[in-house]
């Protein structure tokens, strides 16, 4: 009994530890020390999340953890099941690899006095993302969405250049529009259901659907909340904040923002679909159909924008828009198989896009701050490790077998068979989008491996060992997800069965 209790404390303890490290880092004046504290914290949380994952998968359970001394309808709760634990494991491993691999960028681009502040924001961001994954209370979710927003803006701004300030302003305004809509949705939902905890809200909503009373307000609320989440996670028509922000931020920030922060909102959305609104209600209100259409549009338009882009980082940002479209398409299919594919793509994109951003940052640095793909010719010959990393990432995004991106595309295609009436649309758009992906990723891969005429390509004398470890780690993870994907998809399927109960 003692043992089980200890494991049930892990979700709370992870969030608490991240926040506590943020406070401790405030006392630290040295960037390197702050980096060490951050890495140790993330590593501890990684180990704890793995233990939690093993435990919940073994017991096949979802448990709730009561915060404070007030029981269910009044108090605040955390809730953890296989999906939450899996996401916590992914978030911590990606965070660990990105920050350690990108630590050189942080120490180079951020002024020394501000480096500890950068790590405070990283800690706060990590805590907020974990809280969004674990929370079982809708107002807590709102508060952590705002913490997430402020911390991400601070990470974009850390470079201190005028461009990054403009990028931050754009990002901040669009994010605030999203969280404002979400907040209004939460308030109206509270006034028609009378609860803030997910399970109680779900009961009230099922009652509303049965009695047909307050049906219109429910539709409006669902619309507000999902538009809010879509804006925050940069679904297609709301993507305008990404390119400017990712382009002007340091590569570490761009990697974390694109790989993890966008995903934390989507995971909150998935939890809302299953634990608050329930899949059937979402289907009757036609919200899934709307997400499906926008997802499809995003898959194509994101790639079209990326093709027109000359600067590598902006191209990667638009490619994120396309990949977010894939995830929403999976959610929009409205079936559990579709959701499994979407969840798997969340993992695949998290490990691939961060790898691409890190390698791209390293190319830009080697070529003396020039950012156009044109200027990157031969960059991979100067820095072969980053070149291999970029190539693997690009091939995975295109969907080459043995890599993570291929598996998620296979799952999307398979899932389309199970959703009637959507199969043709999914298969056609999936094919088109993959061709477009190849059309903009392959030229950049060819460019970095082609030597510039008349210029001798010398390898960069020293690659920082942490960067090497992180790139190799990401490449291995890509292959692991691409080859031994069975256990992971089984965990995702199991967790969706549990969530949908």
């Amino acid at each position: 009994m003692e043992h089980i209790n200890w494991i049930h404390n892990i979700p709370f303890f992870s969030i608490f530890l991240a926040m506590l490290c943020g406070i401790i880092t405030a006392l630290v004046k040295n960037g390197r020390l702050a980096f060490k504290i951050h890495s140790i914290m993330v590593f501890i949380i990684f180990v704890m999340s793995v233990i939690l994952l093993i435990s919940v998968v073994k017991n096949n359970e979802i448990f709730t953890f009561m915060m404070g001394h007030f029981p269910a309808p009044w108090g605040n709760e955390l809730r953890a099941g296989p999906l939450e634990a899996l996401m916590a494991v992914t978030f911590s491993i990606v965070m660990l690899l990105t920050v350690s691999g990108g630590s050189e960028f942080i120490f180079k681009d951020v002024v020394p006095e501000k480096q500890p502040l950068y790590f405070i924001m990283l800690n706060a961001l990590f805590g907020a993302m974990l809280a969004l994954v674990y929370t079982n209370d809708i107002f807590t979710a709102y508060v952590f969405i705002e913490i997430n927003t402020i911390a991400s803006c601070a990470l974009i701004m850390a470079k201190g250049t005028p461009q990054s300030m403009v990028g931050t302003t754009h990002y901040l305004v669009i994010s605030l529009l999203g969280s404002g809509l979400f907040l209004l949705g939460v308030c109206i939902l509270y006034s028609i259901t009378g609860h803030l905890l997910f399970p109680q809200m779900k009961e009230a909503i099922l009652e509303i659907i049965k009695t047909e009373q307050y049906r219109l307000p429910l539709l409006v609320v669902t619309g507000f909340m999902f538009i809010g989440i879509a804006i925050k996670s940069a679904l297609f028509p709301f993507h305008s904040m990404l390119p400017g922000a990712y382009h002007s931020a340091i590569p570490t920030s761009s990697g974390i923002l694109s790989g993890l922060v966008l995903k934390s909102y989507i995971i909150l959305g998935i939890k809302l679909i299953y634990c608050v609104f329930s899949a059937e209600v979402m289907h009757t209100l036609k919200i899934t159909e709307v997400l499906f259409v926008f997802g499809l549009a995003g898959m194509v338009m994101g790639s079209v924008y990326a093709m027109r882009e000359r600067k590598m980082k902006r191209m990667l940002a638009y490619s994120s828009v396309a990949q977010i479209g894939y995830i929403y398409m999976g959610i929009g299919m409205g079936s559990r198989v579709g959701m499994t594919a979407a969840c798997f793509h969340i993992l695949a994109h998290a490990i691939t896009k961060t790898l691409l951003f890190l390698c791209c940052g390293s190319f830009v640095e080697d070529s003396g701050g020039k950012e156009k793909i044109y200027h990157m010719r031969g960059a991979a010959l100067r820095n072969p490790l980053a070149g291999i990393g970029y190539t693997v990432g690009a091939l995975s995004m295109i969907g080459i077998p043995l890599l993570a991106g291929f598996i998620s595309k296979i799952y999307f295609a398979t899932a389309s068979v199970y959703s009637s009436g959507k199969m043709a649309a999914v298969l056609i758009i999936l094919g088109v989008s993959m061709v477009l992906n190849a059309l903009y990723f392959l030229p950049s891969v060819i460019a970095i491996w082609t030597p510039e005429k008349g210029v001798e390509m010398k390898p960069v004398s020293s690659v920082s060992p942490l960067f090497a470890v992180s790139i190799v780690g990401f490449i291995l993870l890509n292959f692991v997800l691409g080859v031994c994907y069975r256990p992971i998809t089984r965990i995702i399927q199991m967790s969706i069965e549990l969530l949908a109960q």
């Binding site: 901040l172 404002g180 006034s191």
Partner: protein, 124 residues
């Protein structure tokens, strides 16, 4: 129409929310933009406060020894408003600091002009 009369406060707060939202989205002047943000958030607090109030009851503070819940209004919306105020204050502080730095560099508060100058600088 009848419903609009009974839900007067809620209707007003949703209209205010719309005003704030459009201000945040479309206003070019950065200071006015973030004033729009504050209007939007305040509208939500009005909504919550109106929902939490029950006619004829008093604030949930135990003074006369009455522990019967039907004597007091619902305290939860007030708690949510407090949390929301904290969030909106910190977001406003952050954005104003950002606006100040932008003004110091670009010498204008107009978002369009800032974008224009920034694009020119980038193009060099």
């Amino acid at each position: 129409m009848n419903h609009l009369g009974t839900n007067f406060y809620e209707a007003v707060s949703v209209i205010l929310f719309g005003i704030g939202f459009m201000n945040l989205l479309l206003q070019n002047n950065l200071i006015k933009k973030f004033i729009g943000l504050n209007i939007m958030d305040t509208a939500v607090y009005l909504f919550l406060a109106a929902k939490g109030y029950i006619w004829g009851r008093v604030a949930p503070i135990l003074t006369d020894g009455i522990v019967d819940a039907s004597y007091y209004v619902n305290p939860i919306p007030a708690g949510l408003v407090l949390t929301g105020i904290v969030v909106s204050v910190s977001v406003t502080a952050f954005s104003l600091a950002l606006v100040q730095r932008l003004y110091m560099h670009y010498g204008t508060l107009n978002m369009d002009e800032i974008m224009k100058i920034s694009r020119e600088e980038e193009g060099e």
